[in-house]
């Protein structure tokens, strides 16, 4: 029994250690050492190393019911990981591996040992931190119900605030900024206050939700009043972004918006209808290039159209492209469909890159001087102004998604996703259902592409790589397939965050990989999973007048 538990703890510790080796040797750990999060000591890489040790302890401990087993075995795992890290520090100090492993520098040894170096002092320091991380993780998971989660959320919140110093600093009032932030990252006092505030906030949120009295109080305000109020508030906040966000943030917000649009589009195809389209970038490209060709004087030569004329044409063209892709793959499922659509994405990219179509699409140089929209005399030019256009488009796509989801067409998509054979036996025409998913889903991507082309002012084939498709699929997986709020969260996390954190840029794919694997293991349904779909409350209220009270009670259940 004990031997097996020990073996397991050591194994997990070794795995975490190897993960640490990997992150170190690809350069992520040394690169993140530049970024200070709290005060002058806690760097991003230290936070990552501590998280790694704590994670090892947590993974080991979660198998056991009580703290008495969780903590010791968790600590053992964390210590094993610490030893592994120290071993790497020793190796890079005493052997010259830099010929092969670029990042195996003595500097790495210093980072790995939390400043102690590959000596006895470093070892002691590393083991101590391992012990603390193990105790912390074990203790946390042994805490009663909400506390572990509250503390982890608050800690993450604090780290995030530290990471976003350069972005948030200029936005907040000067007093707040100078208190919260030091020369780099949060000041110590700022970190403590942030952590405490976040703890209070998360506790409050949890207890409010769990509290029957408040639940009844919110229920007392009819949904017909509550919902519009919440929606109006949200809208106001969203619409005010250009007022307080600077050029940089607005630009990021625009790009997040483009991905939200694509995410909502692919969500119809993949989330609702279950059709794995790995070539979604094709629609983005068709929208962008249609806008480019129609409005730029560089290609086609004969004419240029106004943005507002070109936009609907771009969307309609993408719908046609959606049908074109949908038709040949109607009979395909799963892997075959994924491969075929992957091919379509590449075909579109190669077409726009080709010399053959160069007179029309600009070849490798792409197309520049794409029109910006203007309303009367107001030229929508800056990212801030453009944001409003993006926001309206996203709201429109969201609105359409909701309406479609609640219609018989939406239900026929769900049926196809769940069991295509049975869907047909229920009288659903799979050709119409699939093609409509492809066509409507494509149109959101086309809209996104057209807006993108106009904002950037130019298109080049390189912008339409496979990576875009992968991004969109990944944000759906992260947020939760079929969940509309999930699309927004996914886009913010996978597109917004990396834009804000310059360190992430280089290791973007690595982080993606880690995030997706972690999702598959711990939350396969996504961060905001699609809940069992219920009719709108408003209709339940209407219904209330017509059916027996007993039925309503169960209907709400």
């Amino acid at each position: 029994m004990i031997v097996r538990a020990a073996r397991r703890a050591i194994f997990i510790g070794l795995v975490a250690g190897i993960a640490g080796w990997h992150l170190s040797l690809v350069g992520l750990i040394p690169a993140f050492a530049q970024r200070r999060l709290v005060g002058d000591t806690l760097t991003f890489s230290y936070a990552l190393l501590i998280a790694l040790l704590a994670l090892a302890a947590f993974a080991t401990g979660r198998r056991y019911p009580g703290a008495a087993q969780r903590i010791p075995w968790g600590v053992l795992s964390a210590l094993v990981s610490s030893l592994m890290l120290f071993l790497l520090a020793l190796l890079v100090t005493h052997l010259n591996l830099r010929q092969i492993l670029l990042n195996a520098t003595p500097e790495l040894a210093r980072v790995l040992t939390f400043g102690g170096g590959a000596s006895g002092a470093g070892l002691v320091r590393l083991l101590l931190i391992g012990l603390l991380a193990g105790l912390f993780a074990g203790g946390l998971s042994a805490l009663p119900r909400p506390w572990g989660r509250v503390i982890v959320s608050a800690a993450l919140m604090t780290l995030l605030l530290g990471l976003l110093r350069d972005v948030l600093g200029p936005l907040l009032p000067r007093v707040v900024t100078s208190f919260l932030y030091g020369t780099a990252g949060l000041s110590l006092a700022g970190a403590v206050v942030t952590f405490l505030l976040a703890t209070v906030l998360f506790t409050l949120r949890w207890s409010l939700r769990a509290n029957a009295v408040t639940a009844r109080a919110t229920a007392a305000v009819p949904a017909t009043v509550r919902q519009p109020v919440i929606q109006a508030l949200l809208l106001l906040i969203l619409a005010s972004v250009p007022l307080w966000a600077g050029l940089f943030l607005s630009n990021v917000a625009d790009f997040v918006g483009f991905y939200i649009l694509m995410g909502l589009g692919l969500n119809l195809v993949l989330g609702f209808a279950g059709l794995l389209d790995l070539g979604y970038v094709a629609f983005f490209a068709v929208g962008a290039y249609t806008m480019a060709v129609l409005t730029s004087p560089e290609v086609g030569q004969r004419f240029t159209l106004d943005f507002w004329v070109a936009l609907p044409i771009a969307v309609v063209t993408t719908v046609l492209a959606g049908l074109l892709v949908g038709l040949p793959v109607l009979r395909m499922r799963g892997d075959y469909l994924a491969i075929a659509t992957l091919g379509f994405g590449e075909i579109v990219r190669l077409l726009v890159l080709s010399d053959w179509l160069k007179p029309y699409l600009g070849g490798a140089q792409g197309v520049t001087r794409i029109a910006r929209p203007s309303i009367a005399s107001w030229r929508i030019d800056s990212p801030q102004e453009f944001y409003l256009l993006v926001l309206i488009s996203c709201l429109f796509a969201w609105f359409l998604s909701v309406r479609l989801r609640d219609s018989r067409l939406g239900r026929s998509w769900f049926a196809i996703r769940e069991d295509e054979h049975v869907a047909q036996a229920m009288g659903i025409n799979r050709v119409t259902a699939k093609l409509s998913a492809f066509a409507i889903g494509a149109s959101f991507g086309g809209l996104s592409g057209a807006l993108f082309a106009s904002l950037v002012g130019s298109v080049v084939p390189a912008s339409f790589s496979l990576l875009v498709s992968i991004n969109v699929v990944a944000l759906l997986v992260l947020g939760g397939m079929g969940s509309l709020p999930g699309v927004v969260v996914g886009a913010l996390a996978l597109v917004g965050l990396p834009e804000l954190l310059r360190e992430f840029q280089e290791y973007r794919l690595l982080v993606y990989g880690i995030v997706l694997i972690a999702m598959m293991l711990f939350r396969p349904a996504g961060l905001l999973p699609e809940r069992i779909h219920r009719r709108e409350l408003e209709e339940a209220v209407e219904e209330a007048r017509e059916i027996a009270p007993a039925e309503i009670a169960t209907g709400r259940g």
């Binding site: 309406r403 609640d406 239900r411 069991d419 047909q424 229920m426 659903i428 799979r430 209709e539 017509e546």
Partner: protein, 269 residues
């Protein structure tokens, strides 16, 4: 009145003849059972009728018109619904949505109606929901509308499958071993439900069933398949005494030795 008629129906899978020259006549408002040993071709018969398999030869006529080779969704729209030997629900959807999907062909509004939520959309959706709830109540699932289908207990899943099939407002319902895996009490209830389908809703039932007690109990007509061929047909009484049937079930030589008493009498279940 003949509702469904197959003539010379033949289906081959490579060298295997799953159905050979099967002639079947299902009378309106009958409970008609199809029995036969494993692999006799019963499910294949269902798949041919519902359009999922295209027969190699022969004709299938429903209400007088030929439906041979017709697309499955069109067959469904004509009024043929089915359930599956291994339950096939839309597992991740709510119980209510499962039934609403069955109502798909009967909900009439355009995409624009849905997007704008016009009165027409609201009326149609509300009527659909009412009908779905009514069907769920009919099969005994009232109050479970918002359960996830996969979370229902086994017996309820079978009922839900029937409710979903009923949502098509079928004239003919094909049930593929509806009592498989049920305990005697659940089986009893299922028999009652099948009777009510015919008596209260006027639905013709074509039933595949392994449980002889059930078959003998509720069938008006029994057709026996063996190795893809129809070997007997008639009332439960007649089939029960047919030496070819006994032979098919018990092996050669059994017909003379054991006699008809091995198959239970009607009403015994």
């Amino acid at each position: 009145m003949v509702l469904l008629e197959t003539s010379h129906l033949t289906k081959r899978f490579g060298g295997l003849v799953a159905l050979r020259d099967v002639d079947l006549v299902v009378q309106e408002r009958a409970i008609h059972s199809v029995i036969g040993p494993n692999g006799a071709g019963k499910t294949t018969l269902f798949n041919c009728i519902t359009g999922f398999l295209v027969p190699d030869a022969g004709d299938i006529r429903f209400s007088g018109t030929s439906i041979t080779g017709l697309r499955p969704d069109l067959v469904a729209r004509l009024g043929i619904a089915r359930t599956y030997q291994n339950i096939r629900l839309f597992r991740h959807l709510s119980v209510l949505d499962n039934v609403l999907i069955g109502l798909h062909p009967h909900i009439n509004y355009s995409l624009l109606d849905a997007i704008l939520r016009t009165p027409r959309y609201r009326r149609a959706e509300r009527a659909a929901e009412r009908e779905a709830r009514e069907l769920l109540a009919f099969v005994g699932l009232a109050g479970k509308e918002f359960f996830t289908a996969a979370n229902l207990p086994y017996g309820d899943q079978r009922r839900l499958e029937i409710a979903r099939a009923l949502a098509l407002r079928p004239k003919l319902l094909l049930l593929d071993e509806p009592t498989a895996g049920m305990n005697p009490h659940e089986t009893e209830e299922m028999i009652r439900l099948i009777r009510r389908l015919r008596d209260e809703r006027g639905i013709t039932i074509l039933l595949i069933e392994h449980d002889m007690k059930v078959v003998m109990n509720i069938s008006d007509v029994v057709t026996v398949l063996d190795f893809g061929e129809k070997i007997a047909e008639g009332t439960p009484e007649e089939v029960r005494r047919d030496p070819r049937v006994i032979e098919a079930y018990l092996g050669r030589g059994a017909a003379s030795g054991l006699g008809p008493s091995t198959l239970p009498l009607p009403g015994e279940a």
